[in-house]
Amino acid sequence: MDELLDNAPCGFLAFADDGAILAVNATLLGWLGRDACDLLGRHVEALFQPGGRIFYQTHFFPLLRLHGRAEEIYLSLLGAGGEDVPVLVNAARRERGGSQVNDCVFVPMRQRRRFEDEILSAKREAEEANRAKDALIEELSTPVITVWQGVLLGPVVGSLGRERADLMTAALLRAVVARQARVVILDVTGARRMDADAVNHLTRAAAAVRLMGAECVLTGIGADVARTLVRAGTELTGTQVRRTLADGLALAMRFISTNGHL
């Protein structure tokens, strides 16, 4: 090997497609605490930690083989004492002596790794916080309250998108079965912006409740929801509608006390 390359301030290694190490410079050998005769002819995987071997086989080599080059790939080499030697790798495939050779240049990145570890752990914490928030919102967004024996109230607060409507319907149906409900009141007093889609979700939820054998009462319908219903030509057959939650409750109580006549 050229003396310049041998002692250049970067690691250099060449390997064949079958993984056999063809050349390695003194700088890299120094970092890894190895002799050239240790490595030449061995599979390049010998340089990596076990997780790194998977990464090499599933990402690094396919990328190099398919695209002819790989840039800024983060790898972790196996130091002499078993410690991590974090490096960035650039690699290119070239023809030399009639066969394909993969040339790699390594730059150590101990400092940067510390920085990236911090970024990653911050990212993971943020993801965890997000997950917790999502779970909380999901819980808060689909409350089902038993207001009387056999009477459930599902208040819709905020906006009613597809995902939330699905969650709400699922929670309602579970509650109808578990609490043996006979009437479900869907109250949209606190709902924001009930557009045609939201009304559609609502009527589907009501239909599902009825299929489970419970009556459904829709309450808290304001002027804009009424307009949307008319414009959308939505059929509310089978669903009772009351203007206020109080009216809906009264209707539900009558239903329970008369044993099923609305």
Binding site: G19, E45, G51, I54, T58, E71, Y74
Partner: protein, 271 residues
Amino acid sequence: MPEDILRRNNVKVSGRGPRAIVFAHGFGCDQNMWRFVAPAFGDDFRVVLFDYVGSGKSDLRAFDPRKYSTLEGYAGDVLDVCRALRLSGVVFVGHSVSGVIGLLASIKEPGLFERLILVGPSPCYVNDPPDYRGGFERADIEGLLDLMDKNYIGWASFLAPVVTKNPERPELARELEESFCSTDPRVARRFAETTFLSDNRGDLPRARVRSLIMQCSEDAIAPAEVGEYLSRNLPGSTFRQLEATGHCPHMSHPEETVRVIKEYLEAEGIS
């Protein structure tokens, strides 16, 4: 509906022949991995390539983390693709984790498959002492996930500028479109966990379709012991030791890979 599946899994059909051969990629890549092998079957087979949901150019919106937290979820993709194309008597070629995915699909619908070709398969990557050595400890898998995380930090910034900064070199953008990996880190991470933390040893006796195990030499991911374990415990399997080294013989030694598959199919009277 079939069109939806074909789009969802980025299904590509080529070649001519009465029988279909379906190539399934492993973890970390997409159907491009078969670039050096699949064309060799085009004269005799209908060649089907696809990407699992979450990989390659599949529809990322179809990725359901719950469904794809088990290999059965991925087996569902295989069955969906076969049904969408109305295939039967399929020769299924699966690399790495796709070997087990194909096996699970064939257990669910044995009638759909004629033979399974398992390239570097493993029913369980993690050691289970004292009797089973998959090759890895759980901590090693954590090491892999860590490397993936770190590279995704890099790739996001490394992939983006290529498109914008090289308008004079449109082939670069095209190459990116054919980007070889799933670029969504959460999806890739989930696939890694599902792949390397699954244990499907219990499914092996349920195999109903004959299979070929292609064992590479010096394969760190599916070592020789795993291949031997499979050949002992997978009913109807034939074992072939490859000269190819590493875990990706279809990329590193495509000629041998093609030859061994063809020899097996010929010996089994399938063409």
